[in-house]
Structure formats: structure tokens, C-alpha cells
Symmetry: C2
Subunit: 247 residues, 2 copies
DNA sequence: TCCAACCCTGACGTAGGGTCAGGGTCAAGC
DNA sequence: GCTTGACCCTGACCCTACGTCAGGGTTGGA
């Protein structure tokens, strides 16, 4: 007659494991001695070894009991099934490895390298880190919500760095985040942005879809000055459009 | 301002997932509206997308927060670490697959094919299924406790089938399990076994190690007749040994 | 006004045990 | 006879990353 620790040592498992198998009904509870200690027979050793053989092969505990009493045909079917499950898990982990290998750094988390390059270009122009962070988040939202418009967006953005007027605007935009909404520099920036929109045929008053709404929210949340800037720009654009219809 | 289900849908996760991230502190709890509903900003969308990007790559939730704020060097180190962990899991599952592929049927669970072959040979001799089951368990115990003595044991067993006297004994042994301990056939079987031991120079009275103790237990547990048989055989062997010393 | 579709908190379940907490038992040495 | 260390017991909480009720309040459209 063996104690629980002797049984466990013989089968190469922990005492806790044996008790767990009792708990889930995989190994029957043996008789107790006068002290209430469990006393095991040699049969229990054999049972436990057979259980561990399956468990060590990755068979879920819940299926082991059936497997131990299965006919060869059922057994083979169950083994095939469990093997497929293991393969599925392996595939998933392999996919995880593939993805994680792509995670070069924090910024490249979601974004294609062209975008990361553009962000670094903004940094080297002297645009503040805070503004770059907002720009990054805007691209993350684009990527998640309108991935199809990413290629065009990337091309436009990359091309814009060739225009000195536009790059000067980027610098001013970066600084403006911290300005008071009624700072006179805000008004001058609004005029510059308005002129830029007219020149590049953009219209900040057109109805916004999900993606651009979130983009606007992200910017407005970050800067009171920009709440005013975007409001005024949209207002002016609406006026221009109305005037265009009238004329 | 988004509701929790809008946020979840935007980031491609379930509402439960968002709440879980709040619970573990990965995503900050947002302000509530008058009804107590959570209201999310665009920033939350960005945060959640960044979290999911790492989670989808197999990064444990507990490590994501640190990773989101890590410098490139730390980030690279952490990614290497996590990748190694994923590889470890893959290796383990692959080992499981290898093992499970070896599990041809219930009996071959632990045992080498030669043993399985011998068990089937016993069946074809007409040995009862119950006796074969005990024999199987004896081999399982041997395998687990004294694997080094398996080859010799297998050779002896395999050779024994060439001896008609021994195979006849196997048959009698199989039938004897169910006999009453005081059945006269038990006495005749004891005589036969005693003669066999003498002939083959075995000694069932020698001190037993762990493995043979368990083997004896397994047999005695299964059959009262065999409790007596083993007792008497050991007694006689002891007597023979004493006589040998005296003479 | 009603109904579906939301939202809330709280709690249990998953697989396979690890790790206390709190208390009883046994065997050996002094 | 007493102590000490090694066992044994039950019960309960911990881990991952959420899924899935249960029970109840809110919102918005027909």
C-alpha cells in the first residue's frame, strides 16, 4: 500500500496532480487508512501511468478516460482528432511568430514603412514629437477603418514634402497645438490653411465618414486651438461653396 | 463620442474584450454619461487598435502595456523574448504530436511492440483476457520502474513461448485466477510452478525491490488464489535455500 | 406605449495544475 | 515524553483571455 506521495513519485507526477485527477474523476479515490490518508494499490500506479502517457502526448484530461477504454477504431479516430487540434494550435502560434517578427518597433506596430518614413521626415523637419504622435494616430485610424485609401494617402503625403510651402505649414501646425485658441497666430494659421485648401482643392466642410470623424475627434481632443481652427475652416469652406452656387 | 459596442466594432473585438482590458488596467476606464454608460474618445480607438496589434501577434496581455511605451532597444529585446516563448510552446506541441502519432492503440500506449506481440501470442494460446490484462500491467510497471531490465525481460518472455511446458503453464495460470484458494487444482499448480522455478533456477523468496513488490501487489490484488500461490512458493523457496545451506 | 437593442455589474467556467493557509499525523532522535 | 521535520488532509485562490449567463436599467424608433 502506497501513500499519495509514493504513488506520485512512482508515476513521476506531483501530489497535487494526483489529487487533481481525483477531483476531475479521472483516477478513482482509493480507500483511506485510520488517519484519513489515501492508500493506493499497484493498480492505481498502472492507471496513473496510463493516464500520464496520454496526458504527456497532449490529450486533454477530459478525453483521456474515454480513450483508455476505447476500441482500436474509436481510439484511432480520437487520436486523429486530437492531432488535428494540436496542429491547429501550432499553426496559430506559428502565425503569431510570423507577426511578431514584423514588429520592428513601437511605431511600426501597425503602419507600413512608407508611413513610418514620413513620420521620421516630419521629425527631421523639426515638427514636435506631440504633433508626430497625432499624425501617427491618424494613420492608425486610416489603416484600421479605410485601408483601401491608404495607398493614395501615402502617395499624397510623400509628395507633399517636395513642396516647401506645405512643409512650412507642417512646422506651424506642430507648434500651433499648444497655442491659445485666440492667439493671433492662430488666425494667421487659419488664413494660411484656408489658402492651402483652396490651392489644393480640398474642402473641409464636406460630410465626414466614420474614419474622418474619428480623425477630427483625435485632433480636437488634443488641442483646443485646433478645435477652433477646424471649426473656422469648415465654416469658411461652407461659405465659399454657397457663394459658388450663387455665382 | 462612441459607445462600448461602437468602439469594439471599430477595433474588431468584442464588448467583453474591451471590458476585460479595463479590468486588467490595459485600457483606461473612460468617463461615463448620465446613464452610467462608458463614452469613448478617438484616442481610445487608437489605443485599442495598438493593443490588439500586439495581442494578435501573441504578446501576453500582461506585457503589452510595457511594450507600448518601450524604447526601440527594449522593444526588440522583449520581442525576441516573446518569440522564444512562442517557439518553446510550438516545440512542446510538436513533441505532443510526435508522441500521439505513436499511440497506435490502447495496449501499445506504453509498451514496445515486442511486448504487445507477446500479449497477443498469449491471447492466441487461449489465455484469458483478464490474465493478459494483468500481464500487460506488469509490463507497464516494469517499463516505468526498471526500464533497463526490459530488453532481457522481453527476450526471456519471447523465448519462453518455444517451450511447450511453459506455455501450458501460462494457460493454467490464466485459468487459476478465478479459482478458490483452497481448490485442489491450486495445489497441483503450486507444485508445477515450484518445479518450473527449480528447473529454471528462479527463486521467488529473494528480497523484492520496488518494481517486483508492485508487480506482486498487482497480482495479489487481482486474485485470492494467487495470494496463496505466491505465499506458498516463497515459503518453499526459503526452505530449499535453508536446506541448501545446511547440507 | 411597446419592443428590440443596447448598457451595466457580478459571477462562474474554461485546462492543468501551483501555491498558500491552517491543521492533523507519523517516525526518529533526545 | 517531547520536539522536529516530513508527511497528510481540505479548502481556496491564482494563472490566460476572455465566453456566457443572470438580472436589471436605458435608449430610440414604430
Amino acid at each position: 500500500m502506497l501513500t499519495i506521495s509514493q504513488l506520485a513519485a512512482t508515476a513521476g507526477v506531483t501530489v497535487r496532480t494526483v489529487r487533481h485527477y481525483h477531483h476531475v474523476g479521472l483516477l478513482p479515490e482509493p480507500e483511506r487508512d485510520a488517519s484519513g490518508y489515501r492508500r493506493y494499490s499497484a493498480q492505481a500506479v498502472v492507471d496513473l501511468i496510463r493516464i500520464r502517457t496520454l496526458a504527456d502526448a497532449g490529450v486533454p484530461l477530459a478525453r483521456i478516460d474515454a480513450l483508455l477504454h476505447a476500441q482500436p477504431a474509436e481510439f484511432a479516430a480520437a487520436v486523429t482528432d486530437i492531432d488535428a487540434e494540436l496542429q491547429r494550435k501550432i499553426d496559430q502560434l506559428t502565425e503569431h511568430r510570423r507577426r511578431i517578427a514584423e514588429l520592428a518597433s513601437g511605431e511600426a506596430l501597425v503602419l507600413p514603412p512608407e508611413v513610418v518614413a514620413n513620420l521620421n521626415r516630419m521629425r527631421s523637419l523639426g515638427v514636435s514629437e506631440r504633433a508626430v504622435r497625432i499624425e501617427r494616430d491618424v494613420w492608425i485610424l486610416m489603416q484600421a477603418l479605410e485601408p483601401h485609401s491608404m495607398p493614395q494617402g501615402i502617395r499624397d503625403k510623400t509628395a507633399s514634402f517636395d513642396d516647401p510651402g506645405t512643409t512650412r505649414l507642417y512646422l506651424a501646425i506642430g507648434q500651433s497645438l499648444d497655442w491659445d485658441p485666440h492667439d493671433p497666430r492662430v488666425d494667421r494659421l487659419i488664413d494660411d490653411l484656408d489658402a492651402w485648401e483652396t490651392e489644393h482643392e480640398r474642402d473641409s466642410s464636406r460630410p465626414r465618414n466614420m474614419a474622418s470623424q474619428l480623425v477630427f475627434s483625435r485632433i480636437v481632443e488634443a488641442s483646443p486651438a485646433w478645435q477652433r481652427i477646424l471649426d473656422v475652416l469648415a465654416h469658411r469652406a461652407r461659405q465659399r461653396r454657397t457663394a459658388g452656387h450663387d455665382g
